[in-house]
């Protein structure tokens, strides 16, 4: 079965998005990158990121990711921050009782965006 279906599809994304976004906002390592952003719009972006990381239908383009994160890279966004987000994502899925082998697959997909996010 495809990862997205195994995780529970859109219902799983909906269950995860608020938990994930709360963790990110409360994470002192990365919260400063979110000050002043429009929360409503940001929640929609978090959702589209999760759909992608869950292996769901998406129109992910590296270019969009680069454009969106370029200003943050200027503010010092680096590997440690990317790691923090992946860690928060893993903790979210653990909280939702997702098995470790699936969490590893999600983390692996998220990992494929690292160079685009960090504009390398």
């Amino acid at each position: 079965m495809a990862l997205y279906e195994e995780l529970g599809g859109e219902a799983a994304v909906n269950a995860a998005v608020d938990i994930f976004y709360r963790k990110v906002l409360k994470d002192n390592r990365i919260s400063r990158f979110f000050t002043g952003v429009d929360m409503a719009k940001q929640a929609a972006k978090q959702k589209s990121f999760l759909i992608m990381a869950f292996g769901g239908p998406n129109n992910y383009t590296g270019l969009d990711m680069r454009t969106a994160h370029a200003p943050l890279v200027k503010q010092g966004l680096n590997d440690s921050h990317f790691d923090a987000v992946v860690e928060d994502l893993g903790a979210t899925l653990k909280e939702l009782k997702v098995p470790d082998n699936l969490i590893a697959q999600v983390a692996a997909i998220a990992e494929t965006t690292r160079n685009d996010v960090l504009c390398r």
Binding site: V17, D18, Y21, R22, L25, K26, M39, A40, K41, A43, A44, K45, K47, S48, I51, P57, N58, N59, D64
Partner: protein, 331 residues
């Protein structure tokens, strides 16, 4: 075959999404992900039904306004659509009364000359002349009030508020837009608790939403926190206190954020007082209106306190020129 009507012309849908149908003909419709996620291609159905998948992920208030995602909408019948933000209709209304709520705030009561649909908490644009207009939230409730009521604060050097305070009088005729905004009560889920936070004239839509919810028999708790720097900045205190005395599920807290505390008032910002009384907002629906800094801070804090991101509704009042008015946007 179903057709899509947009800006007065009609196009064969031909199995395409509304977005593809329009953009393939060179018409400008904003879009980004084309996967039903980013909501950039939000449009509004003016006439005709929208298939359910096209409204997936939208908030109940957006659905109630017939908004839909153009990239996910494959019409099954003729559909007339508009960009979500386009002003479509204007209405003539007569001023039935100007009421003093407070030294610096007037309630303007309007009676539209033709049937006017709105929901308590939405806002309308009031035109002073062809080029000058401001948005004002509605404090009235369609089921309870004959008139539309807006709360207007006098802004120093404000053109429109100055005009209202100095010149507009009962019997005058004015032009308003149709009602906009997603900050309104949606019937259903009657057991859900509701938190409302407002500053200044941000009370107007909240006053409408509270009375609408109570009138529809909302059974969950309804907690309203209205803030100002000092007691002089608060208004409708007696009306709201009376409402709280009649409805056990309605709590009203007039809050003072600066200066000494006073009898009958709570000290602190509406957000601080609310979170002190209810630290866990899991499952709550939240409405935020007023000062943009307050709205943004409250949006994050109520979310971190457990309110779902899709259950937080907000109308930040931005100063347009020199006047505070709700921002006209699609969200």
């Amino acid at each position: 075959m179903p057709r899509v009507v947009f800006k007065g012309s009609s196009y064969e849908a031909g199995g395409q999404s509304v977005l593809d149908c329009l953009t393939s003909r060179g018409l400008a419709v904003p879009s980004a992900c084309r996967a039903g996620v980013c909501q950039s291609c939000l449009m509004r159905a003016v006439r005709g039904g929208v298939p359910e998948p096209a409204q997936k992920g939208l908030t109940p208030t957006m659905v109630a306004r017939n908004l839909f995602l153009a990239c996910q909408c494959f019409p099954t019948q003729d559909l007339e659509v508009a960009l979500a933000d386009d002003v479509i209709e204007r209405f003539e209304a007569s001023v039935s009364a100007i009421e003093r709520l407070h030294d610096e705030i007037r309630a303007v009561h309007l009676r539209p000359s033709t049937p006017f649909e709105y929901r308590a908490g939405q806002f309308v644009r009031l035109f002073m002349d062809a080029r000058t207009s401001r948005n004002y939230s509605l404090a009235s409730v369609p089921a309870l009030d004959d008139d539309l009521t807006m709360h207007v604060r006098r802004v120093p050097d404000g053109r429109v508020s100055g005009w209202i305070f100095e010149h507009v009088k009962a019997g005058d005729s004015v032009t308003i837009s149709e009602a906009f905004g997603d900050c309104f009560y949606v019937p259903g889920r009657t057991e859900q608790n509701i938190l409302l936070l407002g500053t200044g004239c941000g009370l107007a839509p909240l006053y409408g939403i509270v009375r609408d919810a109570l009138n529809r028999g909302h059974a969950g708790r309804i907690h309203l926190y209205h803030g100002s720097r000092d007691a002089c900045g608060l208004y409708l205190v007696d009306e709201l206190s009376r409402l709280a005395a009649v409805h056990p599920n309605f709590r009203y807290r007039p809050c003072i954020s600066e200066g000494p505390s006073a009898d009958g008032y709570w000290s602190g910002t509406p957000l601080d007082v609310a979170l002190e009384e209810t630290p866990d907002l899991t499952g709550w629906r939240v409405y935020l209106c007023g000062n943009p800094q307050m709205v943004e801070a409250a949006r994050i804090q109520t979310f971190l306190a457990g309110a779902g991101s899709s259950e937080i509704f907000a109308d930040p009042f931005l100063v347009s020129g020199t006047e505070a008015t709700p921002v006209l946007n699609s969200h």
